[in-house]
């Protein structure tokens, strides 16, 4: 135990598991609305954390993360809607398609300067958006695509446990990745790509791998999300969704492991309760982000770092 707890990975894994154990008890006290908000919150934690893997750790800004989630959601949704194929095939198919799209896009763009990835993914996301709206006979467009619920009903309790489990597994997996040699390559690329290359790292290969992986995780989250919300619309690829993911990561702490986890929850909760304000809530959030960025770029995670150190008693 003590040897395990002295590694960064071990400490993070223990903390995640303890937090998850506490969250397992939440349904005892919370109403089903709170559970619903929390479930959607887990969805955003997964998206934010997997985007952070790419943007925060590897320094490659993708602006299509929400689009990959939608690819995963729509793949499973459409397979079920048109051909009655179950989610057991639908969700993996969505993950594969997201990963494949990420791989192809990455191979084409990641050889170039980082800025081209952001530009190309932005165009990709809007193209998917336009396609889903335009081909409404197949995708049902703005009419909405109805999807079968995963557990027969939409009672949030089971989905809460499902998303909690999914989040824990994925977070521990991502932590393991960050602490692996590949994780060091990622940070090396972010710090100084030319130098990383000169030390013999095939930087393009690493970037493509991470981009495909983070797209696949988004597709996975999107697939489960589809079978929980039961109705999909192109609203899922509205650019404000992407901005939300970026804001969550930035408020939490860009390029830190804790950042997206602690950033996603407050943003999601506050946004849910501000929904009666309509569009203005996004304006308020945008202002908060601008102010945060103006004065400090470290996010909430910076507050926690000294606490974290003290907790494990190293200076």
């Amino acid at each position: 135990m003590s040897a395990f707890a002295s590694t960064g990975f071990g400490r993070s894994a223990i903390t995640i598991l303890v937090a998850a154990a506490v969250l397992l008890l939440l349904p005892l006290v919370a109403s089903s609305f709170v559970l619903h908000v929390a479930t959607i919150g887990f969805y955003y934690v997964i998206l934010a954390a997997s985007w952070n893997l790419l943007a925060g750790y590897t320094g490659q800004f993708s602006l299509a993360h929400h689009a990959f989630a939608a690819v995963g959601a729509y793949t499973s949704g459409l397979l079920g809607y048109h051909w009655g194929i179950s989610f057991w095939i639908g969700i993996p198919a969505g993950v594969l398609l997201s990963a494949a799209m990420g791989f192809v896009l990455g191979r084409l763009v990641l050889k170039m300067r980082a800025i081209y990835l952001a530009i190309a993914t932005w165009a990709f996301a809007e193209t998917v958006h336009v396609y889903l709206t335009a081909d409404y006979q197949f995708t049902r467009g703005e009419l909405g695509l109805s999807v079968k619920p995963l557990f027969g009903s939409v009672d949030p309790l089971k989905y809460y446990f499902l998303f909690l489990g999914l989040t824990v597994v994925l977070l521990i997996g991502m932590r393991a990745l960050i602490d692996s040699p590949l994780g060091y390559f990622m940070r090396a690329i972010k710090d100084d790509e030319l130098r990383a290359k000169s030390l013999g790292i095939d930087t393009t290969k690493v970037k493509v791998a991470i981009f495909s992986l983070s797209s696949a995780i988004a597709g996975l989250a999107g697939g489960f999300y589809a079978h929980y919300t039961v109705l999909l619309s192109p609203q899922m690829i509205d650019f404000s969704e992407m901005a939300k993911i970026v804001i969550m990561v930035v408020i939490g702490g860009f390029g830190t492991f804790l950042g997206p986890i602690i950033g996603a929850a407050p943003v999601q909760v506050v946004m849910t309760y501000l929904q009666s304000w309509g569009e203005w809530n996004l304006a308020v959030f945008a202002l908060i982000v601008i102010v945060l960025m103006r004065f400090s770029m470290e996010g909430i995670a910076a507050v926690f770092t000294p606490l974290w150190r003290r907790m494990w008693r190293d200076g």
Binding site: R113, A118, E126, V130, A134
Partner: protein
């Protein structure tokens, strides 16, 4: 189906809209070449330009003075650009260099969200049109909507002025110098931060101009800048970041592909053909249309 007239008409309308997309791409690429950052909120400046145009035409000047309204809208967006640069973008240089890209990206994304929400909050999700009293014009044997022809002529004039200012004025020289070396320009006694401010203003004013010109064609609503901005970014990938002729030629190429795709394949997918063109260019010529130097990291 493939009559000569249809082909000619499709080609003309493709070139005409392509020049307007090029305005947008030029704004993006111009800001990038001076300030080394992407302004993600370009579409929102386009949107503001189109709202200004609508308000001026509908409430203040009337449809006959549309050309004056366009000048005022563009100037308004230019001034807003100066303010935004001063308040939001300039502080970028207080950040350590490795954080500047992240800062610029996040701040302009937040700006996008902010401006769009404000527009929806103030004007609602309604679609407006400033209308146009311009008659349908004949280009050769082909009829063209007057507003589109006017937009094309205005855009060409703006491109001409932009090029002439860059090429023949002292300030244009300063701008070109800043795009080559930000340090070098300072040693020549030029205040690079004030050059930045003007460059940002000009860049967003190009987007505002496109918005004002296209207001009668593509309607006015809070997210109307999105489609044109995406095309602007597609053009930048095709023509290369920082290249002015690249923006113009890629813009026309995109306009043509889109126009022919809409006429001969399916007009429902008009906004998708551009991305297919981007993929094709990336496969065939990874260095972009003009073999941009240093594009590959």
């Amino acid at each position: 189906m493939f009559s000569t007239e249809l082909v000619a008409q499709t080609a003309i309308s493709g070139v005409m809209i392509g020049v307007l997309y090029a305005l947008m791409a030029l704004g993006i690429t111009f800001i990038y070449s001076i300030m080394r950052m992407i302004n993600w909120a370009m579409g929102e400046f386009y949107m503001i330009g189109s709202y200004l145009q609508f308000m001026l035409v509908a409430w203040v000047l009337g449809p006959d003075l549309w050309w004056l309204a366009i000048l005022i809208s563009t100037a308004g967006v230019f001034l807003l650009g100066l303010v935004v640069q001063w308040g939001l973008i300039k502080p970028i240089f207080k950040k350590p260099p490795e954080m500047r890209d992240d800062y610029a990206t996040v701040v302009t994304l937040a700006l996008l969200l902010f401006l769009r929400s404000i527009a929806t909050g103030l004007a609602g999700p309604n679609q407006f049109t400033p209308g146009s009293t311009l008659p349908i014009m004949m280009i050769g044997p082909m009829p063209m909507a007057g507003a589109r022809v006017a937009a094309f002529v205005f855009a060409l004039a703006a491109l001409g002025i932009f090029w002439a200012v860059l090429r023949y004025t002292w300030y244009g020289l300063a701008l070109r110098a800043a795009s080559q070396s930000r340090v070098g320009v300072q040693t020549a006694g030029i205040d690079v931060l004030s050059v930045d401010r003007v460059a940002f203003g000009i860049g967003v004013a190009l987007a505002g101009l496109a918005g004002a010109l296209l207001a009668p064609v593509f309607l006015v609503f809070p997210t109307n800048g999105m489609i044109t901005t995406v095309k602007g970014f597609e053009i930048v990938v095709i023509g290369g970041l920082g290249s002015i002729p690249g923006a113009l030629i890629a813009g026309i190429l995109l306009g043509l592909i889109e126009s022919f795709g809409a006429a001969f394949i399916d007009s429902a997918y008009q906004n998708i053909y551009g991305f297919l063109l981007v993929l094709a260019i990336l496969v065939l010529r990874p260095t972009g249309l003009f073999g941009e130097r240093g594009r590959e990291a």
